[in-house]
Subunit: 379 residues, 2 copies
């Protein structure tokens, strides 16, 4: 286990740090794509492994919508969300690669977000500006500068993390050697925008939300919980839900018994399950960050202002590795196929075989291990 | 045009009435499946055509979740929601058949529902009991009695209307000659329950809902509007939404421009479209009825308490006519196929070819006209 102190070396912080421990770096002011600005931005991140002498072994891992920086277990006990992919001896081998996982701009896992304090010491709340996927990637480029990483060996992510990986390859062609995009296409579709709108409205319509200025008072847990329910249904396949829950009642509860008021009927198991998913999220996530990042994801469109997806990616120098989940009904495999066709050269789309739906990019990521070792992490 | 007065004839009301005009009938007290009761129930309905002497030409048409009794245009100007199917010279020819369309128990188009007054003259609101699909069908059987209809030539419906049609065939085998079930299976699945829960929560979490006792005050329009958005996405196919709206902004609005607060960004077209769908529904539908009927639809399970779907339908004497919409991702065609396998004999599932998704059971119902004339409405 290494020492957790860092050493500043000519503006470059070399790695002498604990694996999988949260740290933050100030990256200065940021002008934003939508026209706003943030005067002082911090990005939180974790790292695993050691940056080599020529800084050629760095890997950027991007989390999904409600994900965090804890990709792999590291030196603590807490398991990571891509433990099957990242770690000592794993496909992304932290004995060989220096892995960096930042929290997205606007998030609630350490990076500057709506719950952060503005320069006057008040939480941003409703005044937090609109940030896009591109804004986050520009912020992450400054993090790379601070860490002395000129070019990533690989940038990879799934779902919204994949959107950021793709934006990296389009925005900084010289800084990405391999780009791994899992379970997302080149832009958010009308359907994905529609589902996102419902989630954002669920939060905004919660009276506890108070336009976003709820800090110091009760959090809009009902609205955030409803947003999570809507999202979670889309993350799972229809057969998965039906196989697990069917029409069963929860425990002894009878969903078709309500001698008194209708509101007193018992719950179906699937309702109880979604209640649980909602409770888990509201205990760990900030509603404003949920809105901020969801709207950033709505903005995902690698071709915007660049003459469309194909022209936007024509200059990308990365080798691309695409994958989709065959049962995904939120980010359909067809959307990954469309992205592949827009990329220079022949780019195959690897398929994760999972019954679960979109969340297969988390639960079944190990399926990509062999191909990733052969094509991307050969070191 | 016939006279709109009705003639009581030995307890039987024969038809001498205007087509497509709302009327109501009192059917007495109703004990409910879930254990509650309603002391006085009225059902609203419309009719078209004339009941023949032996009452053998009666057809029951069942509306979907937010549908109403106005199936066909009739003598007024207002178009009906199944005009392509029902009317003079149409497949369900009102020159030959006597068509009856009741509003579901719990609804807000004339039948007793949460907005109705209880015996003390107060709206039921939060005290309105839990009603099931079966309760509604039992109420409709009393309507049939009042109209002098012992046996329907056909009972037909799509979506939730199909659930009620199916329940008719299972509950009253001797009273249904043909049963037409479009775009729904034999039970509500875990996924359909999950989507319904989100919609019900959207309404219940609106502070204006006040547990259901909002009459006389502002209605929970935000919650009902959100419920509609969630539902509407599921009624349309993903390609339909993307083809119509893509990532375009609404008019001159720019969804990726918000120099001030994030909440001030422009809308995507698909957001504006769903806003419009929400506004339309809240102007015509009662939130309590939405909750009541949605929970009734969650209860849909023809096999409940009857030894499963196959045994429940073993004694059904109707000739079944099933159809599904090939792009439906709410009531998947597979669920209609499963229902067909549970029915006695060989029952084919007709396919409506539509890109739109579930709502194809409304927009493309004309596709079934030929087969329905050949198999059901041969008179």
């Amino acid at each position: 286990m290494e020492d957790s102190t860092t050493r500043e070396d000519g503006g470059r912080t070399t790695a002498a740090r604990q694996d999988g421990v949260l740290r933050t770096v100030a990256i200065g002011a940021l002008q934003l794509e939508a026209g706003g600005a943030l005067p002082e931005v911090e990005l939180a991140y974790e790292t695993w492994g050691t940056l080599n002498a020529d800084a050629s072994n760095a890997v950027l891992v991007q989390h999904a919508l409600t994900g965090d920086t804890h990709v792999a277990q590291g030196d603590g006990d807490e398991p990571g969300w891509w433990d099957a992919l990242v770690g000592s001896g794993k496909p992304v081998d932290t004995d060989k690669y220096f892995v960096v996982a930042p929290n997205m701009l606007g998030g609630c896992y350490g990076s500057t977000g709506p719950s952060s304090l503005d320069p006057e010491g008040t939480p941003w709340g409703s005044r937090f500006p609109f940030v896009t996927i591109r804004d986050s990637v520009r912020a992450e480029a400054r993090l790379a500068d601070r860490l002395g990483i000129r070019r990533w060996h690989a940038v990879l992510g799934g779902s919204m993390g994949g959107a950021r990986a793709l934006e990296w390859a389009a925005t900084y062609p010289d800084r990405v050697r391999h780009c791994v995009v899992v379970a997302i296409g080149g832009y958010s579709t009308a359907e994905q925008i529609a589902l996102a709108q419902a989630q954002v409205l669920a939060i905004r319509q919660d009276p506890a939300y108070r336009g976003g200025d709820y800090y110091g008072g009760p959090a809009p847990v009902a609205g955030l919980g409803l947003a999570r329910r809507i999202a979670h249904i889309s993350y799972r396949s229809e057969p998965e839900l039906n196989f697990r829950f069917g029409r069963r009642g929860q425990g002894a509860e009878n969903p078709v018994e309500a001698p008194g008021a209708a509101a007193e009927r018992g719950r179906y198991q699937v309702e109880s399950y979604l209640d649980h998913q909602a409770e888990k999220l509201v205990s760990r996530f900030d509603a404003n960050s949920y809105v901020t990042i969801t709207e950033a994801l709505m903005s995902h469109d690698v071709g915007r202002g660049r003459g469309g997806m194909q022209r936007a990616l024509a200059g990308a120098k990365a080798e691309f590795f695409l994958a989709s989940v065959n049962s995904d009904r939120l980010y359909f495999p067809e959307q990954s196929d469309e992205l592949a066709r827009a990329l220079p050269g022949e780019v195959p789309v690897h398929s994760i075989d999972a019954k679960i739906g979109h969340d297969g990019f988390l639960t079944e990521i190990g399926q990509l291990g062999g191909e990733l070792r052969r094509r991307v992490f050969t070191g």
